[in-house]
Structures are given as structure tokens and as C-alpha cells.
């Protein structure tokens, strides 16, 4: 039924084209036959384009998202991490993990490297055991441009001695085309047309750091480190 419905517009247009050809098929002057070829060729190209478009992916980047949903998910992620439930979120949110084993120090300095303050939230969890391992998970920033989800590149993390350096991710530069419906449709569906407003939302990145039980964390760049349960 759905397949039939999908081809309904094409069937109707074809029916009209055949009807017009049928009415005008009798012997015609040469100039009119030339016009026939131009019009038939154009219509054929339009039909071929329609067919080809059916095989395209509807998008080559991100999925559709609502800014409200992204905000809600960011809040849920933050709350879950603060409650120490980050483990269960690893498969739900885009992330990157680092692990630094054999850490012998009792102090860990955290600082921002070579960049001005960057809006990443840093949450630290002190483990119950002293396993000499520092684990870092970066839940990547999720943004939305005109309702299309964009995921940032991960933060850069380096451990130099007893200092964990957080580096701003490389800027994600995206240049893409977006098709809008014509005004004779958007007028009634109230969706945004060409002249409609655009929206951009940039979420925040979250860095979750698990440190051994005996390690003290020092905030060297006034990042505003928070501690989870």
C-alpha cells in the first residue's frame, strides 16, 4: 500500500502527460515535433531525477534532533555522572576513553593546555581502591544546526608527570547543503522555508575522570572541578 502511495504522484503526472500526448499525437508540423522533443526530454530528465533521488540517503550527516531533547539528554548525562552512574552511559552517548596505568603519584594536577577557558565540565570520581590507574572518559559535545545533530571531535588529553592536560578539540568545520520545501508547501505546513529563521545549539562536553583512592586532585586552571558520588 505504501509503495503504491509512493508512486501515486508519478502515476498521476504520467497519466496527464500521456493524456496530452494522446490528444496531440496526430501529424504535426516539424517545428512542433522539435518542441515535443525538448519537452519530452525535459520531462524524462525530471522522472529520472526522481528515480535517482529515491536511492539517495536523505542525509549524509547527522540525524534529526530537537534542541530541547539535546538539552534534556545533556542534563540527564550530567546528573547520572554526578551520581556515579557513568558506566551505564558509555553506550548511549558518543565518547572517547583514555587509561593511564601505573600512576604512582598521590597528587594529580588538572589544567587547560594553551587554550582559553573552554566550556567542558570536569567531574572527578575517587575510586574505592588504589589501582594506580587514571581513567578518563570524554562524553563529546553534541550540537544542533537547524535540527541536525553534530558531534564534536574529542578533547585532547595528555598526562605529563603528575599533570593531566586538557586540550580543546579541533574545531569541526562543516559545510553542507540543506533542501527546503517550496513556499507553496511551507505556507500551509508552517515549516521553516528559505526565509525562516535558523537555529544553532552548541552543547557542552563532559570529562569524567576516575582517580585512585589515594590521589588528591588539584584544579590548576580554575576549571571548577566537581566530584561525583
Amino acid at each position: 500500500m505504501n509503495i503504491l502511495l509512493s508512486f501515486l504522484p508519478i502515476i498521476i503526472i504520467l497519466a496527464v502527460v500521456i493524456f496530452v500526448i494522446f490528444l496531440t499525437k496526430t501529424s504535426l508540423p516539424k517545428s512542433i515535433i522539435q518542441n515535443h522533443w525538448v519537452i519530452s526530454g525535459y520531462i524524462a530528465i525530471l522522472f529520472i531525477s526522481f528515480g535517482l533521488t529515491s536511492f539517495h540517503p536523505s542525509s549524509t550527516i547527522g540525524k534529526n534532533v530537537k534542541v530541547q531533547d539535546l538539552e534534556k539528554e545533556n542534563t540527564n548525562l550530567y546528573n547520572a555522572v554526578m551520581e556515579g552512574k557513568a558506566k551505564g552511559l558509555i553506550n548511549q552517548y558518543p565518547n572517547k576513553k583514555w587509561s593511564f596505568s601505573s600512576y604512582q603519584g598521590t597528587q594529580l594536577n588538572i589544567e587547560l593546555g594553551k587554550v582559553e577557558a573552554y566550556g567542558a565540565r570536569v567531574v572527578v570520581k575517587r575510586k574505592k581502591i588504589n589501582d594506580h590507574k587514571i581513567e578518563v572518559i570524554n562524553f563529546k559535545s553534541r550540537a544542533s544546526a537547524n535540527g541536525r545533530e553534530l558531534v564534536a571531535k574529542p578533547l585532547g588529553i595528555k598526562l605529563l608527570g603528575n599533570t593531566l592536560i586538557i586540550q580543546k578539540p579541533k574545531r569541526l568545520v562543516l559545510n553542507y547543503f540543506e533542501f527546503k520545501n517550496v513556499f507553496s508547501i511551507t505556507q500551509f505546513t508552517r515549516e521553516q522555508g528559505i526565509m525562516g529563521s535558523s537555529d544553532f545549539y552548541e552543547g557542552s562536553s563532559l570529562l569524567y575522570i576516575k582517580v585512585p583512592a589515594n590521589v588528591e586532585v588539584n584544579d590548576q586552571s580554575n576549571i571548577g572541578i566537581e566530584y561525583s558520588k
Binding site: I32, I39, S58, I61, S141, S184, S198
Partner: protein, 247 residues
């Protein structure tokens, strides 16, 4: 003297079929105007740029708006052309009167409006194919044809109404010009004068624009277009009856 007494419907049908066959060059002009509009549209009709801490996004917007606008212009000019003497003389190949001539013209313009609207809406897919295969950029299509077949039908229907409305306007203007050639200068002067008489949102052109283009209810829009088109065609038919046989 012929003993055959053809009905009005038969005469209108014959003239309609004749016009579909004879005025094929008008469709060639439609094709050319749509190709030009597609070429202009490939440069993008709008753009949005945003730059955040970790993102830099440029979105180029595309739509078949320009193709529809060019098709509307084509419909308007086609309607004016159907009232010219050269084309009207074609009706005298048949047993005819002003009523049958006007009715066959209206049917021809309705068919032309549908073909113009259908090709304009379908041109969106041609643009998508060009951008997808020949331009090296990411691509976002809010809805594909297989997901929204009714949307295409809906677009063809509403665009046909727009084209037919402008056909009606063009037809009336064409008849007026045939009655009095001075209208060739007077009508554009009135139109341009009205645009320059800036009256904010209460100006005549703005009000007419809002009346049709800002209408969000489809049934009300259909009513407005049908009534306006009927009034324009009735006026045109009334005025054309005042013309001399060979005028």
C-alpha cells in the same frame, strides 16, 4: 450553409485540443525558464553560518522557490499571449464565438498551470541530483520523495492554483490591452506606482500579497484563488464580448 449544429462543448473541446497541439512552443519557453531558474538556484537561495567553541557550520539552503516563481511568470505571460490577435485568429479555423474561445483558453491555461506546477515541483529532484552527484558537499534533505509522496501531490496542487491565479490575472490584462493599447503603459505604471507608494503593511500590493501568500488554511486559500480567478475570467470574458469580431 452548414446543416451541422455543433454543441458548445464540442466546439470548446476541438479548440482546446487544437490549442494543446498548436502552442507547444509555450511549453518550450516553460522548460527554458525552469532551466534558467534551476541554474540560478544552484547558487543557493540562502545561507546560515554559525561559529561556536568547537563547531563552525555553514548551511546553504536550496529550494525550488525560484523555479515556482519563474513558472508563475511564465503562466502570467502565457495568459497574456493567448489573448493576442495572432493566437485569437487561430480560433476562426473553427465555428466559434467569444464564449467558446474564452472557455477553451481557460481550459488550456488550466492544463498549462498543471504542467508548469508539476514540472516545477519535479525540478526539485533534478536539483537534488545535481547537488548530490556533482557538488562535493554534505547534503541534507528534509524529506525524500518516498517518505512524502503526498507532499509532492500537495505541492503540485497548490502550485497549480498559484499558476492558474496568475493566468487569470494575465488573461484579464491581455484582454484589457487588446481593448485599449494604452494599457500597455498604464498598467505597469499603476503597478510600479503602487509599489513606490509605500504604505507599510497596508499598501495595496502588500495586502494582495498577504491575502494569498500568507494564507495558512488550505480550504480558505482554495476558496480565495477559485473565487478570484473566476471573477478575473468573468471580467475578461465580459470585456472580450465587447470586442469587434476582427479586433
Amino acid at each position: 450553409m452548414s446543416l451541422v449544429n455543433p454543441s458548445l462543448i464540442q466546439i470548446v473541446k476541438k479548440q482546446y485540443v487544437y490549442k494543446l497541439r498548436a502552442y507547444m512552443d509555450l511549453y518550450t519557453r516553460l522548460v527554458l525558464s525552469q532551466i534558467v531558474a534551476i541554474l540560478f538556484s544552484l547558487n543557493g537561495l540562502g545561507m546560515m553560518g554559525a561559529r561556536g567553541g568547537v563547531f563552525e557550520v555553514s548551511v546553504h539552503f536550496y529550494s525550488a522557490d525560484l523555479v515556482v516563481i519563474f513558472s508563475i511568470l511564465w503562466a502570467f505571460i502565457t495568459a497574456i499571449l493567448t489573448t493576442t490577435k495572432a493566437i485569437r485568429n487561430g480560433d476562426f479555423l473553427f465555428v466559434t464565438n467569444r464564449v467558446s474561445s474564452n472557455l477553451s483558453n481557460i481550459l488550456f491555461l488550466l492544463t498549462a498551470s498543471f504542467i508548469g506546477a508539476a514540472t516545477a515541483m519535479m525540478s526539485t529532484y533534478l536539483m537534488k541530483v545535481i547537488i548530490y552527484y556533482f557538488m562535493d558537499h554534505h547534503y541534507v534533505d528534509t524529506q525524500g520523495p518516498m517518505e512524502a509522496p503526498l507532499e509532492l501531490l500537495f505541492g503540485i496542487f497548490t502550485t497549480t492554483l498559484y499558476l492558474f491565479l496568475f493566468c487569470a490575472l494575465g488573461y484579464l490584462i491581455g484582454v484589457l490591452v487588446q481593448l485599449y493599447k494604452g494599457f500597455i503603459f498604464i498598467l505597469p505604471a499603476i503597478f510600479i506606482g503602487t509599489i513606490f507608494l509605500r504604505e507599510g503593511n497596508t499598501g495595496l500590493v502588500t495586502s494582495v500579497f498577504k491575502f494569498f501568500f500568507m494564507e495558512t488554511s488550505l480550504p480558505i486559500f482554495i476558496t480565495k484563488v477559485v473565487i478570484t480567478s473566476c471573477l478575473l475570467f468573468i471580467c475578461a470574458m465580459g470585456l472580450s464580448n465587447r470586442m469587434e469580431v476582427n479586433q
